[in-house]
Subunit: 152 residues, 4 copies
């Protein structure tokens, strides 16, 4: 994926910790998924969505269906990173986040991520329409950059 940096309006800052480094001296590839998740959760909190991504509404839950990560340049111990996060689309029963990680000082591109999430009924576990409150909050924050499909 080659994400469009100009569309991102939310950023989370973090610092690479010692235990995230593997024996090559760089961040282990699975840890970037954790960084992107940290960005998504801060994003949801900023929009006023109270709880974890898995329990956005009491009667539904959200699961991750897919992850795509392109590793562009390895991050190293103690580097400060910015995790950019946005919702790129909302369809009937699913939506997608995009994420970019860059090194704070140099803006060096570290990794890019697209994750797809599915909205499930809390009782039956079947896919159901992405909640209206979530749609409204994302539309307000993202404006025209989020493609929100209104009819399922």
């Amino acid at each position: 994926v080659n994400l469009d940096r100009s569309k991102f309006r939310h950023s989370t800052r973090l610092r690479v910790r010692n235990y995230e480094i593997d024996w090559q001296g760089i961040v282990h590839n699975a840890n970037y998924l954790l960084y992107f998740e940290t960005g998504r959760i801060e994003y949801l909190q900023k929009l006023g969505i109270k709880v974890d991504i898995a329990t956005i509404q009491g009667d539904s839950r959200v699961v991750v269906a897919r992850n795509e990560i392109d590793y562009r340049s390895p991050a190293k111990f103690n580097e400060e990173l910015d995790v950019l996060t946005r919702v790129s689309y909302i369809r009937n029963t699913s939506f997608a986040f995009e994420g970019i990680i860059e090194e704070t000082a140099s803006k060096r591109l570290i990794a890019e991520n697209v994750s797809v999430h599915v909205w499930l009924d809390g009782t039956t576990g079947a896919p159901r329409r992405v909640g209206d409150e979530f749609r409204r909050l994302v539309r307000t924050f993202e404006g025209v950059h989020a493609l929100i499909q209104e009819t399922g």
Copy 2:
């Protein structure tokens, strides 16, 4: 991705551990990357490639360039899983692994993965031709199922 299970000739068995479970009671999505990596490393060892994936040859190293994961059904605490692993192609300076995780007893499909790896010169860090010994060992093990491009 929808991988062709019949092409896989290598399998690694593991059991879901307590600390890999998140607060939803299922394996956290980042841990599947660790399971797939465990499968790849056992695969390399089985083929007689002595060391870690990052140091396949003394004068070169291999880095992960891309990961794609589709989550099909969440794995739960204490479930026994089979991680199927194969090299699907070798190009000039890169190659790809495919992985499938299924629950041992029921064959329930848990997750699918495609990862792309780039062969780098150990000194300059520039991409270089995937090593001949690696090509030979994969061709011997995978036969016609691995697409090995001989001219870069």
Copy 3:
């Protein structure tokens, strides 16, 4: 701590994975806690205690109150390890596990652990007497080696 190896009757085998290695090329010190936990959970399952250590009985739960680890010799990538586990004592509202990790082939001592666990009422969260079924199962398995205090 210097644990008495002759008192251990349960052993769990595992292999050091790539992502458990830190940039010094040895297992990161926090991962030994995960190995010891893996041993404790297998131990509980072997004794017929169905679920996770935290939900041994429906109306109570168990929490970790203390961990002591002595690191004796670093474990390395791909080494096969045996995690020895036993319950050393049961008091009124708490009990302790001891653990030893040794490298399978050479019996090299890797680490030793004592962990203390407290039995809590599932509703109030207050400490309560360690369950009778748990006491009975441990006494049957450990015999005289577990010090079980019957009156609180």
Copy 4:
């Protein structure tokens, strides 16, 4: 252990992340070791010790020999934590860190840690005298609170 909070002069702030929570809804017990490590590394950096704890000087390295953790109150998702860190003593070939984690807003005590570290010769791996530069920097920062044994 019951550490004396008044002796600590260094604090690191962090926030509990989603993936650090286990299926009980609280921070998994092994993650506190990672928090304490994060505190120690920030402490070393603040004192002007450039690199990781394992490579404080080019011709020596430092390994963890022992960890003691008392869990006082579980930390929960999204809580802000302060990790207090200090060097409590330096002996001939070893030294100790103490750590306290408390919840930022309420000062609720989360966990306490004592870790012991051994100074090794980088070539032979044998214990050697803790470096003079390290002794000097700690004495300057901690003053009378660090017990520094000058003769081995």
